[in-house]
Amino acid sequence: MILQQCANGIFLGAVYALFAIGYTLVFGVLDILNLAHAAIFMAAAFAALWLTSTGFPLPLAIAAAIVFAGLLGILLDRVAFAPLRRRNAGTLAPLISSIGAAIVIQGVARGIFGPDERNFPAGPLASTQFHLGPLTVGALDLVILAAALALMLLLSYVLRATPLGRNIRAVADDRIAAALLGINLERTIALTFFIASALGGAAGILIGLQYNSVSADMGGRIELKGLAIIILGGMGSVTGAVIGAFVLGLVETLAVASIGSSYRDAIAFGVMFVLLVLRPQGLLGKRALRAA
C-alpha cells in the first residue's frame, strides 16, 4: 500500500519537477518570478489538444506543442521583460508584467476555446495498466514519467556539457561579468526562456493527458505549488527544484493517504512559509536573503 502511494507520489513529482524547473531557471538567470509560466503551461496543453483534434498523431502533437511553448516563452520575454531590463526596472515591475502577460494568454485561450473544461484523451494508453508485483501502474503514468525524466536529463546535459549551458550558468552567476566576457546576453536569455517554457509546456501537456482535462484556468493551482517547490529546492537551483518536486509529490500523496485530502495543498504552503522564515535559500539555493 505504501509502495503504491510512493509510486503515485513519484509520478506526481515528475510533472511537478518539469514545471518547477522552468520557474527556477528563469529566476536563477534573471531574478524574475515569472507568473506567466503557468499560463504557458496551459497554452501548451491546449495547443497539443488542438493539434490532435485536427488529426495530428499524439506524439507529433506533443512535440510540436512543446516547441510552441518554447517560442511563446521567447515572445513573452520580448514583450514583457526585455523592455524592463533595458531600463533597469527593479523587482516589482517584471512580476507585474508577467501577471499582465499571463492574463493576456489566459484571455486568448478562453476566447478561442471557451471557459469550459475539455477532454484530452490519451487513447489506448489511458486504459492499459501494468502490474509490477504489488504495484498497479498505468501505461500513461509510465510514459509520463519516462518523458519527464528524458526531458530533465536532456536539460542536465545541455546545462552541463554545451556552450549554451555554460553561457546560461555564467549569466545566472553574474550578468555583468558574462557580458564582459562576450556572451550575447539577449540571445542567452531568449534561449533560457525557450527551454524553461518548453519544459513548463511539456508539464502542462502531460498533466492534461494524465487527468484527461484541459481548461483555461488549469495553471492556477500548480502556479502557486510551483512557488513552494522552488522555495523548497532553493531559488535558482535546478537540481533543488527537481528534488523539491519529488519530495513534495511524495509527501503530498502519502499525506493524502493518511490524513485526507482537504489539507493537502496546505502542506506545500506550510513548508514553504516555514522555510522562508528559517532557511530562505531552501535545500540547495545559492542565493540567501538579499539585503534591501
Binding site: 501577471i99 492574463i103 494568454i105 489566459q106 484571455g107 504552503f269 522562508l276 522564515v277 530562505p280 534591501a292
Partner: protein, 274 residues
C-alpha cells in the same frame, strides 16, 4: 442621473470596495514592502464579521469592527515571521500565507467550507462603503503629511540608512502592515454584507492579483492613484463585455502597457504633465 446611479449601484459598490483594498496595499508598497497579504486579511475579516452577524446577530458596525480587529491581529502575528524577508521572498511568503488562510477557510468547521457562507445580512449599502472609503482616504491624506509617512518613504528608499537615522524599520513595517490590514478588513466585511454570500475562493490569489494590478495601474505609491486604478480595474471588465470570452485580454494588455510604457501608473502620468 439618479437613475444611472441606481442602475449601476452594484458597480459603484464594487469600485468602493476595490478602492479600499487598493489603498490598503498601497500603504505597504509605499514602504517598499511587497507584502501581498491583503486578500487574506480581507478574507479573515469577511468570515469573522459574517459569522458574527449570522450567529450572534451583530449589526454592520459591530461586524466591521470585529472583522477589522481580527485582520489587524492576524497582520500583527504575520509581521513577526516575515519581518526579515524582502522583495520576491516576501511576496512569495505572503502569497503562501494567503493560500494557507484560504485552505483554513475551506476546512474550518464554522465557515461553510468550499461551498461558501451565506445568509449574511445585506445591510452594507453604497453609503456605508463610500463613508468607509472617505474615512480611509482622509486618514491616509493626513498620514501623508505626517512624520510617520516620511519614515515610511525613507524606509522604502534605503532601509539601512533609515535605521542609521534612528528609524525603527521593523516597527514601521509592522505598523504599515497592520494599518493596511485594518483597511482591507473593513473592505472584507463590507464586501460580505454587500454580497450576502462569500466563499474562500473570493479571497485567494486571483483577488490579490487584482488588488496589485489596481495599485500598479494607478501608481504604486499614490493613494489617489490606488483609488483610480481600482476604479479602472473594476469598470474595465464591464466596459469590454462585448469582447465576451476575450474580455481578459484587454485587462492584461492594459496592465502590460502601463508597466512597460508608464510604470508610474496614472499618478505618474499625471505628475509628468503637471
Amino acid at each position: 442621473m439618479l437613475q444611472f446611479f441606481a442602475q449601476h449601484s452594484k458597480l459603484f459598490d464594487e469600485i468602493g470596495i476595490n478602492a479600499l483594498l487598493a489603498l490598503s496595499l498601497s500603504l505597504s508598497l509605499r514602504g517598499g514592502s511587497l507584502a501581498l497579504a491583503q486578500a487574506a486579511f480581507m478574507g479573515v475579516a469577511a468570515y469573522v464579521g459574517s459569522i458574527g452577524a449570522v450567529r450572534f446577530g451583530w449589526n454592520l458596525a459591530e461586524s466591521v469592527l470585529a472583522g477589522a480587529l481580527a485582520a489587524a491581529l492576524v497582520a500583527a502575528l504575520l509581521a513577526l515571521p516575515i519581518g526579515r524577508l524582502r522583495g520576491v521572498f516576501l511576496a512569495i511568503a505572503t502569497i503562501g500565507f494567503g493560500e494557507i488562510a484560504r485552505i483554513a477557510e475551506i476546512n474550518a468547521p464554522v465557515t461553510g467550507g468550499a461551498e461558501g457562507f451565506s445568509n449574511i445580512p445585506n445591510d452594507a449599502g453604497t453609503l456605508a462603503i463610500y463613508a468607509a472609503l472617505a474615512f480611509a482616504g482622509a486618514a491616509l491624506l493626513l498620514f501623508g503629511r505626517s512624520k510617520a509617512a516620511l519614515a515610511l518613504a525613507a524606509t522604502r528608499e534605503d532601509e539601512n540608512a533609515a535605521r542609521g537615522v534612528g528609524i525603527d524599520v521593523a516597527a514601521v513595517r509592522t505598523r504599515t502592515l497592520v494599518a493596511g490590514a485594518v483597511i482591507a478588513g473593513v473592505a472584507g466585511v463590507l464586501y460580505a454584507h454587500a454580497n450576502f454570500f462569500i466563499t474562500p475562493g473570493d479571497f485567494g490569489f486571483p483577488r490579490m492579483e487584482q488588488i496589485l494590478v489596481s495599485c500598479v495601474i494607478g501608481g504604486v505609491t499614490s493613494s489617489l492613484g490606488a483609488v483610480l486604478g481600482a476604479a479602472v480595474m473594476t469598470v474595465l471588465p464591464e466596459a469590454v463585455r462585448f469582447l465576451h470570452d476575450y474580455r481578459e485580454v484587454s485587462t492584461g494588455a492594459i496592465l502590460l502597457g502601463f508597466i512597460v510604457f508608464a510604470p508610474g501608473g496614472i499618478a505618474g502620468l499625471w505628475r509628468r504633465d503637471a
